[in-house]
Symmetry: C2
Subunit: 251 residues, 2 copies
Amino acid sequence: MPRIALTCEYDGSAFVGYQIQDNGRSVQQVLTEALEKLYKEEIKITGCSRTDAGVHARGHVSSADVPFYIPVEKLPLAINALLPQDLAVKKAVYVNGDFNARFNSLGKRYVYRIYAAPIRSPLHASYAYYSSYEPDVDKMAQAAKLFEGEHDFAAFCAAGGSQHTTVRRLNSVNVERKDNTIEIEVQGEAFLYNMVRIIAGTLFYVGIGKIKVDEIADIIESRERKRAGKTLPPEGLTLEEVYYDWDRYIV
Amino acid sequence: MPRIALTCEYDGSAFVGYQIQDNGRSVQQVLTEALEKLYKEEIKITGCSRTDAGVHARGHVSSADVPFYIPVEKLPLAINALLPQDLAVKKAVYVNGDFNARFNSLGKRYVYRIYAAPIRSPLHASYAYYSSYEPDVDKMAQAAKLFEGEHDFAAFCAAGGSQHTTVRRLNSVNVERKDNTIEIEVQGEAFLYNMVRIIAGTLFYVGIGKIKVDEIADIIESRERKRAGKTLPPEGLTLEEVYYDWDRYIV
């Protein structure tokens, strides 16, 4: 049975998240239905990660075993014809049986966007968190560097996670202002539940003076969720890219 | 009675258009309700122009007489607190009794956006028309220049308009590619019904080779709607700016 890996873009606004749930329209459900229409057979897909309700993706990766071969260059258009406007397959490849979208991921890159201006912008509301305060982007960028490397991120994890350890490695955390939008880019190997949104909230608090740059190391060390910033809302978050050692898998 | 002029931004996706209609949620209706909540009195507002269902605005202007004075710097936030996420007042000024948002407009600037790529983008779907063809932007830009100046635009007008003349003046028509988005910017004194979307459709046809650059003058002269390109869909269109001789009106 051929195995496909699909890189998907979606606008998360009208999804309950990636993962199939009883209570609404999930990316996994909608993608599964499209594949089942195309292949006329039951299909099980595996995602690189769940994303929460409202979170967007430009490069989410799913894999699935499919009953027959369709030329790879025709696959995105064939599937997209069966998908709604807010979900599309951007790229498809055939991979060998070793590939698992979830377990073989080497890392991910997320961007959290904050639209900062005295007056909110309806044309940015779906893709950025709005701040009427003007955060100090230089301070945010300084604080961001303190998250890089291996740390115990227990203070940046929503309750209810089931992980064995809260130690994670972040390769880079960058903050940049583009017009009125502040982009917090976080690249790492693996993430705890809500970790990027809590780091973004903590950097936002640094930007507006609620947390000082030189408190960050302490907050990390404390492992106390309540000392970090608030969890920023989902619409500002986009999963931009997932990394794999594709050469090992593409057939 | 003080008169206010409000510059509004809105995401047109969930509106039936600017103008109050029986069949749904209009910008004018939602803005009127917010003003009536704020002033606790019936308010009548006048818009610079109608926009169709799905069309966006970054700088639509409405005016209204209001029963009492609120400091101008507090007005946008006071109104925005009563508006939904997809509509906001960006700027407010007090104007004299000569000001009428509709009749005193000196011109408008629209941008029509086309997202052109082999595969569609869900994250651009709300704000751009999608083309799987790669249009020739240089040819579109050449053709655009032929629309500038005063012409009879009868060929670029949807049926059902009630205007006395179909002669209009366009000050500039520019086409520019920014990443995968082609922006058609049209600036003019006044516009016929659907005129920008039909000009955009005609330039798109030039881009994909369905209409030649040297046919444009003929098509304009023919005054025949069927010779121009198709009306592109509303989601690609944004009313960017409306021009007034503000010095004459601001008090």
